[in-house]
């Protein structure tokens, strides 16, 4: 269960509404747990030195899940910070501060870094979605779930991002933007109805189309037949029609 949760959290995008958390052990750790956690902690440190940031995060997180040692959680947050995942780092520093018996020095450092990371989290404010509750909102290609406020606030990390709003019967709305550290950008979502698609789906459209095609064909046929009839040669004389 913890493994599944860990995987879910690591894959969960930074813009998700839920806070990024790593759960501590639900029971008192055994000696074996402590020993394994220690090994994982050491692995995390080695991977940081190797620049294998994602592997380091995994090792620190698992270490914390086994042991509940605040240092493992603190190092996870620090590694996320190095990766540029400021929103997740902020959340984990905040989680570190929830530990009651945290030593003052670590608490002070966690507070400092939490504020620092909070200041680097970028924010996208989307307005215009209140009228489209069934629209699908995507940030960087991933669906954003959760309740919709107005404006919708999307926390994310600095850098390049793409926001999309997809709604049936409307043209996709897309916006690409680049956010600085702690940047905020407001976007107005304006969905344009797909008149063509609506028309296409209308039985009236098909009825009219069939009538036009058949009518045009019949008219064309009548005209073609009339044009094909023999005509008296000009200049010959009188013409009599039976």
């Amino acid at each position: 269960m913890r493994t599944v949760l860990a995987l879910t959290l690591s894959l969960f995008p930074a813009f998700a509404a839920a806070q990024y958390r790593v759960e501590p052990p639900s029971r008192e750790p055994t000696e074996a747990d402590i020993e394994q956690a220690r090994e994982l902690f050491m692995q995390g440190a080695e991977r940081v030195e190797q620049g294998r940031w994602a592997d380091a995060v995994s090792a620190y997180e698992e270490s914390y899940r086994l042991s509940g040692i605040p240092a493992a959680l603190f190092n996870t947050a620090t590694t996320l910070r190095s990766m540029g995942r400021h929103r997740d780092a902020r959340d984990l520093f905040r989680q570190v501060l929830e530990v009651e018996d945290l030593d003052p020095e670590t608490r002070e450092m966690a507070e400092s870094r939490m504020r620092e990371e909070a200041g680097r989290v970028a924010l996208i404010l989307l307005t215009g979605l209140a009228e489209a509750p069934d629209a699908r909102l995507e940030l960087d290609g991933q669906t954003v779930e959760g309740p919709r406020a107005d404006p919708v606030e999307l926390e994310t990390d600095p850098g390049e991002h793409a926001v999309s709003v997809l709604r049936e019967g409307y043209a996709p709305w897309r916006e690409a933007l680049t956010l600085e550290d702690g940047g905020r950008q407001s976007l107005r979502v304006e969905l344009t109805p797909l008149r063509g698609a609506e028309l296409w789906e209308s039985p009236i459209f098909w009825t009219v189309l069939v009538l036009v095609v058949v009518g045009g064909g019949v008219l064309g046929g009548v005209l073609a037949q009339d044009a094909a009839q023999l005509r008296p040669r000009e200049g010959l004389g009188m013409v009599v029609e039976l």
Partner: protein, 172 residues
């Protein structure tokens, strides 16, 4: 609606036929028509073997030819037949009158009249032709189908419009 669909199916195909008649119009003083100034031609699609009778109405297919004072002249009349009349014999009535009113409508009372009967003059989608002197005396002329020319290769000598079996060139 059926006509519309039929029109679609038949689009591009002629359904009518045309006979080009070349008449030699007699002079006003020709024997049998002395005193006449006009010849009114009446055209009827009629399967009957006897000449039609009755008044030539003003709304009926007709053509008025003026009899020339000098020598005879030729006059061409193109007769357009709808598709459903092509196989029916064509009757051409020739009515001579001192004035046109005597040959048309309520005052119909020609001085002299003749009839020409074409056994078959039309073929769908084809031009045919025939020439004859406008009969002056009261008479009836029967024209065989093979004497109505059409659909022939003009380069090839021919004594008629039909082959040895009597089949018209327009039907081959």
């Amino acid at each position: 609606m059926r006509r519309a669909w039929l029109a679609l199916l038949l689009a591009g195909c002629a359904q009518n036929a045309i006979l080009e008649l070349t008449f030699e119009v007699p002079t006003a003083d020709a024997a049998g028509v002395a005193g006449a100034t006009v010849a009114v031609l009446e055209f009827r699609s009629d399967a009957s073997t006897v000449p039609p009778s009755g008044v030539l109405g003003t709304d009926m297919p007709s053509a008025t030819l003026l009899l020339p004072p000098g020598g005879p002249v030729t006059q061409v009349v193109s007769v357009v037949a709808p598709g459903d009349a092509v196989e029916t014999p064509l009757w051409v009535g020739v009515h001579y009158c001192a004035r046109e009113a005597g040959c048309l409508g309520a005052d119909f009372n020609p001085m002299n009249q003749s009839w020409v009967r074409y056994e078959r003059a039309f073929y769908v989608g084809e031009y045919t032709e025939h020439g004859l002197p406008l009969p002056a005396a009261m008479e009836r002329v029967d024209v065989d189908a093979c004497l109505v020319y059409g659909c022939l290769d003009r380069e090839r000598p021919s004594s008629g419009a039909c082959d040895m079996a009597g089949v018209h060139a327009c039907e081959q």
